[in-house]
Symmetry: C2
Subunit: 200 residues, 2 copies
């Protein structure tokens, strides 16, 4: 898999990504057009087509961009304490998205198209692989240090991402308490699976 931390966005593509972000929040995926993105960008559609042939090419780049944002926010975590680091990762996955509810709506539309669009599917899978890789590294570190129980780190990581994806779907479809409920559930699950008996 390509290391997403090695992807970079040049100044114009960064501005196009920010325009895409605003257009997705305003119009959703189904009603998104290059014209609407160009309006947000403040330039012509040709200025966008110079970098991206199609709307789908641009959206695949946008999924890379979102992962890059996430990776940046993770890179700024300074603590190496496994327990604290896992808490911060789960906050990034389940608390921070609260600020971007409209984006969650657009992402769910794109996810629902994954069975029909291989490029979307590949990108969602890569992003999920990468986030699971980061979670697993923290869990394995905690196991090595003896602060977490010796669990199947791959399973625990997939379980946590199931809670994350459930929260993202429920936040769009059902109710406003989906993210806080899932954050609490993730903590309860981490306590039950990773924390040695008698841990406070």
């Amino acid at each position: 898999m390509t290391d997403p931390t090695e992807r970079t966005f040049s100044e114009p593509t960064e501005a196009i990504m920010q325009a895409t972000y605003r257009a997705l929040r305003n119009y959703g995926y189904a009603d998104l057009t290059i014209k609407r993105i160009a309006e947000e960008y403040g330039k012509s559609t040709a200025a966008i087509h110079y970098y991206y042939d199609t709307k789908d090419d641009l959206l695949v780049a946008f999924l890379d961009y979102l992962l890059e944002q996430f990776v940046d926010s993770i890179r700024s975590i300074e603590t190496t304490d496994p327990e604290r680091r896992l808490e911060i990762l789960l906050d990034e996955l389940l608390v921070t998205p609260e600020e971007n509810r409209d984006l969650l709506v657009a992402i769910l539309e794109m996810r629902s198209q994954a069975p029909y669009k291989e490029t979307f599917r590949d990108r969602f899978r890569q992003n999920d692989d990468y986030i699971r890789y980061m979670l697993k590294a923290v869990i394995n570190h905690g196991i090595d240090e003896g602060v977490f129980d010796d669990v199947d780190a791959d399973h625990v990581t997939r379980a946590l991402m199931t809670i994350v994806d459930g929260a993202r779907t429920r936040a769009v479809v059902l109710d406003d308490t989906a993210l806080p409920t899932a954050r609490q559930t993730a903590s309860e699950y981490v306590d039950a699976m990773l924390m040695p008996e008698g841990h406070d």
Copy 2:
């Protein structure tokens, strides 16, 4: 909320629902048309429009139909043992859908449209309310009988539905192991939250 167990489908509407089911599995939501449903039904589009004005009316009825199927499968559970009953409910939510992967694809497309279509949103919320109501009844029964710890049954129910919805989304977007992973996660969560200390 309307009690979904009181909804019934007459013989022709039952046949239309089965045709809708097949058409959704074959074409997905975006490419679904009344014409394609009529082909599966083996009658004219007028025969469908006699019962349903629009495709969306028909799909809202289809969401009722799916809940009715689920309620029927639950009604046939004979055991009143809370622990066993909860296991069977979780199997219905996380094992049985494996047989209907194509339907999960179509349902996720409809879910992603919930922010734009109030009728879909209302129905998804009603269905979620009803399933949580059934889960909560089992959990409260177990608490009353002293076989489950005295937990916040509403939170535990929402947590379990977060795992269920995460599995449904991941099964469509990401990987083939999403449902079994979530089934295991649900059991681990139930053990941690509901089972008294020292329970095997």
